[in-house]
Symmetry: C2
Subunit: 695 residues, 2 copies
């Protein structure tokens, strides 16, 4: 046995996914009850290893000899599934630790997901496991299955279905129920699995470490994840990196795209709440594709298997059809999902027209019903695949896919697309055609929405930009907020151009000589007034020294009325800065994934729209420009609608500078926000800032 | 025969959907070829009427006696389907007109969808039909089917499937291919149809008129529409109104939510391009629900059948589950779709806890696997249905729906929800359970996305606000643009508060005495400079008379450099207006649906986001307030994040005033836009405007 936490990875993968011997503590004689299922499933599926039901109250379980205890077995099993409730499960786990069982899985709930007391019990369990050198899956876990060997060591009711062997898709799920959703829908499409694992509470073995096993698994080509939260992002980044190196795409479906979904994920898993945009940035930066729906996830598996991410540009899709309405439906969804469509070149169209079908130039090449025979379809596909602009071919096929699946799918199977993926969306419900296509290795799509979902993930897929995460702040760090003057100074030091400003005590205001010209802005200076404008603490357009003195009095009176506990003794005076647009630049040491950097429209636009670019920090200038380009609300300073262009180069440099707070010597910064940053034609300037540092 | 265009509606509906005798001109002996299909389908489906294949080259067609021509039939058929190509189809149509056939359908393409020449041919066809008193379906049309009588008079390949009788859902489709998509997917769910029609080019009989037949049809409870464009909105409004009065929900799926989809719809149908938000406003205002995906459309049919729109509030959904991940998935999608979820009251939770299952308070009531037996599920549903906040109950059911459909669905069938809809989403792929539920009249949902799509449509459903459309401007009206001074004057007359302004010739500027104080804004005044700011034609913050004179010179120089063809001789001077936010108010006499009114964020935010409220004009104040409330980007002036509230009452009045341009005496106005309208704490003021009037 390897020492605690350092099990040899190959050995771990073997005992986890392919053990020779399995103990089932608490096995039930009823094969349909959860504690009876693993034994029944393994028997049905022809598992060749040794299975030991352990149940002190019975001579036999499901017709097999039962053992009273672990100690009565003829050997120490490589993998034990403990099927008992919380308290007896703890007793059984300790027996496994004492016996030197290398891996155990626990079905019982009542651990961290149930609250503080359960959390303490779970911590105790894992501490003892580590000391003993036993690795733990769960608790609160439906188990693991190797579908190619019949090691179906799971209580998941989805395995009442018998899944066919020969699959090459791996699946890891934080939800047992959603594992059934993914697997049953994959099965309807003919997508088969190699190895699957539910992770339950992920107290020890988690998505990242199991993912690494699959990244190195010879039977697995592509890895799917169903996630409710991110529990071990560092390990997930390492797994994504390993999968990339092994040429295995990873695609995730993660709950919590809405705030309601986020809150439910928190309630359901006991995990921390993070902004979904941060999860999105994490996946993108470590090279994991993200789907938005179960069928999109499953369909993406076939689309992505054996493929590599693009270096730079988003993949473009060339769409063909024989049925205009169906083709337009899928184009509409692709466009809504932000997927770029190919407008075929004149040469491509000329090639297609050689078949005798006169097609129009546009984002949908409609061969019409007249062009639905194979001798039109196949050359049209091959012509589209030869278009230099086309990265993926998609064909929307009509009623023939339902009426005559073998004939309708033949041209897709025969087409030579020069290595480019050829996907097929069936306009009617055509399950048989979908299965024929998938069986031949072609991506097949059941609905326009799932097609767009999978294509979107694939088209945006990038290689890992980040291979290991920067350190993560303590989860409970509240920190200390700096006042605006100190905040601006810190941002300035980080390389964000900031407005010149003068800090004045109220007694200094009368007759003060400013180092810049009027008109100016005066603001209350305090770390206790978060909403300065609302409190009457900001006066703009101050034209001269007298007006400045009046403004100072007004600010003191207003703020002290709004916040009776605050004594206003200082103001900050800045020149009025004009520009083209207000922008927000943000930095945050996120409790889940560590430092991230953000850009979004600023000023009163903050928070109005879900429109921002987020990346793991630090970033380089190329990434900064990419971020600026992807925020819809920054179109004005990018020069849209003939508007004057802003100083994008300086804005990118400021963003890079802010992201460098992620470097070790700035570990104190929990959060830094410059808003608004005024972007002008030839400069950018932060005029307000808020920095929170660790105490 | 009734005179042209005035066929008695009952008689029309009878000859259209339930004729006693049918002629098939160009019937083919091959039952699988399109011209052979109607005869084969009607025979298979047991149509009791008389069917006459007409084919001069054959003695028999598909074993039935064939007739050489229409004139050889023993009677004039009530309905003739012309299955010939364009030119012979015209000949056959003329024979039908001469014989007094009441309704014909044309399969041939080559009419308006093919371009100008085909358009002229179509106009000729319809003119002759009207003169003869014959009603026309198509051309370019796959036909019509009455599924309860076997009158399957269609060439649509989807009818190679035999659809069961007994359905009560009507369907009208502008795309033959998408009719197959909708019907096949409905069939998979067990949803059956009463009467369906493809409309092809809608040259005569269109969605509106056929919809009216279904609104009055005793066999139809709910009406689905697949649309690519809006061809006869006045008639559709009348149909929607009739359907509402008859208690029949109407739900549409319309292509063109993306700009790519819009362009394709235009290319595919030859129809006009309209902004999708205008189509959305149209559907909402006439009381038609809008789905976004095929399965959402089909699932909404069962959800809405027999229901009425709400008077005011959006319906709230109370979600229960036994499988946390699956329940959270559907909640996530519902929230993303903007559907409000019920947080059950303490009394509701207490009632559920009486079963012995301890549930947490939140937007998802998770009974957990422990609560999956019927004696937990049924009372939990009934408790949720009793919650005063709950309008719809939704249950996310787990693996049992796949493993044991009758047992899993039993508590849903037994539950008494006090008349509130009870929907079920099956987390795994569970087609049998879905069919059991639908057969029992319960709405059942295959995916979280389709569930959210249907629920969104249902929750926002309103009674018709508009029962007949205002007149529509000529399609080709380009009109004449007024200069800013005249535009502001027209808006002011309409009731939109506008900034005070002075029009000056350049020779008047020196030494002018303004009726308002400095600082002021000066702008070039011309109807030939659309982008004044970009042309250097606007100077803001002018502090005194000297600066004004300088500004006038600078404007002249800049604009004449940017637009060498323009001579600048006038400027407009306005006071500087400060406020909280810039808003756009717009009015347009849309070529498709007539007058509409819009509100959106203004200034540089225009067009950045798909965020506006649109309604058919005119509107009342209640509707204006509803519009202001639904624009996300107007949150600042609504007082979000403690920001100072704007003068919403005056803004609403201005919007009502603008919408009154729809009244007959303002028929000249094609378009009127006030942008920006500055919204302050206690006033609103349009400071720029553009009005286009009919010549």
């Amino acid at each position: 046995m390897a020492p605690s936490g350092k099990t040899d990875p190959d050995r771990l993968s073997q005992v986890f996914f392919a053990p020779q011997s399995v103990g089932l503590i608490g096995a039930s004689d009823t094969p349909t009850r959860p504690p009876g299922r693993p034994q029944a499933f393994m028997k049905r599926d022809g598992f060749a290893g040794r299975v030991y039901p352990i149940n002190p109250r019975r001579e036999t379980v499901q017709g097999d000899r039962a053992y009273p205890s672990l100690g009565d077995l003829p050997e120490v099993p490589e993998h034990v599934y403990i099927l008992l409730n919380t308290e007896p499960a703890m007793v059984a786990a300790r027996e496994c630790f004492a016996a030197g069982v290398p891996t155990i899985t626990l079905l019982a709930d009542g651990f961290a997901e149930s609250g503080h007391e359960g959390g303490a019990l779970q911590a105790q369990l894992i501490a003892e496991a580590k000391a003993a050198g036993t690795r733990v899956l769960g608790p609160n876990c439906m188990g693991v299955a190797n579908l190619n060997t019949g090691f179906t060591c799971t209580t998941n009711a989805t395995f009442h279905d018998h899944y066919e062997r020969g699959g090459r898709v791996g699946l890891i799920s934080q939800s047992g129920g959603m594992m059934g959703s993914v697997m049953s829908r994959a099965t309807a499409l003919g997508v088969r699995f190699s190895k699957v694992a539910a992770v339950g509470n992920e107290a020890d073995l988690g998505v990242g470490e199991i993912g690494e096993m699959l990244a190195h698994d010879a039977d697995t080509d592509v890895i799917l994840l169903f996630l409710e939260t991110l529990r071990e992002p560092e390990r997930m980044a390492a797994f994504a990196s390993a999968a990339h190196d092994a040429g295995k795409p990873v695609i995730t479906l993660k709950l919590g795209r809405s705030s309601v979904g986020q809150a439910l994920a928190v309630a359901h898993t006991g995990a921390l709440l993070s902004d979904d945009a941060i999860a999105d940035a994490f996946f993108r930066d470590v090279g994991i594709m993200r789907a938005g729906m179960v069928e999109g996830l499953v369909e993406a598996a076939t689309l992505c298997a054996g493929r590599r991410p693009t270096a730079g540009h988003a993949r473009k899709v060339g769409v063909l059809t024989t049925t205009g309405g169906g083709g337009a439906s899928v184009c509409d969804q692709l466009a809504l999902a932000g997927v770029d469509l190919v407008i075929p070149s004149d040469a491509t169209l000329a090639e297609i027209r050689k078949t005798g079908i006169d097609v129009k130039k546009g984002p949908l090449t409609d061969l019409t019903l007249a062009g639905s025979a194979a001798h039109f379809v196949q050359p049209a596909i091959e012509a589209m695949a030869s278009d230099p602009d086309c990265d993926v071919v998609l064909f929307a096929v009509g009623s023939s896919s339902r009426a005559n699946p073998p004939e309708a799918t033949a041209p897709f199977l025969a087409a030579d697309t020069n290595g480019k993926p050829l996907g097929v969306y069936t306009v009617p419900d055509a399950p048989e055609a979908l299965r024929l296509l998938v069986a031949a290795g072609l991506p097949a799509f059941r609905t326009p929405e799932s097609c767009a979902d999978a294509m979107r993930a694939f088209s945006r897929w990038r290689a890992p930009r980040v291979r290991s995460l920067a350190r993560v702040a303590a989860h409970d760090a509240v920190g200390r907020t700096l006042d605006e003057h100190a905040s601006l100074a810190m941002l300035s030091a980080a390389g964000v151009p900031t407005v010149e400003s003068v800090e004045l005590t109220l007694s200094e205001v009368d007759g003060v000589k400013l180092p810049f010209a009027y008109p100016v802005v005066a603001k209350v200076l305090s770390d206790q007034v978060p909403h300065k404008t609302d409190a009457g603490g900001v006066v703009v357009g101050i034209g001269d020294a007298t007006a400045l003195a009046d403004a100072a009095k007004s600010i003191k009176a207003n703020v002290e009325r709004a916040h009776p506990e605050v004594v206003v003794d200082r103001i900050l005076v800045e020149p009025m800065i004009e520009g083209l647009q207000e922008v927000l630049l943000g930095y945050r040491n996120d409790p889940q994934v560590g430092p991230v950097v953000t850009i979004a429209p600023g000023g009163i636009m903050v928070g109005l729209y879900d429109d921002k670019a987020v990346r793991l920090a630090p970033i380089d200038e190329t990434t900064a420009h990419e971020m600026i380009a992807e925020v819809a609300g920054l179109a004005p300073i990018r020069g849209a609608r003939n508007l004057p262009k802003g100083d994008i180069a300086s804005l990118a440099q400021a963003l890079v500078g802010l992201s460098m707070l992620a470097n070790a010597d700035n570990a104190l910064v929990l959060e830094a926000e410059a808003n608004p940053v005024i972007v002008g034609r030839d400069r950018v300037m932060a005029v307000d800032a808020l920095v929170r540092v660790s105490d």
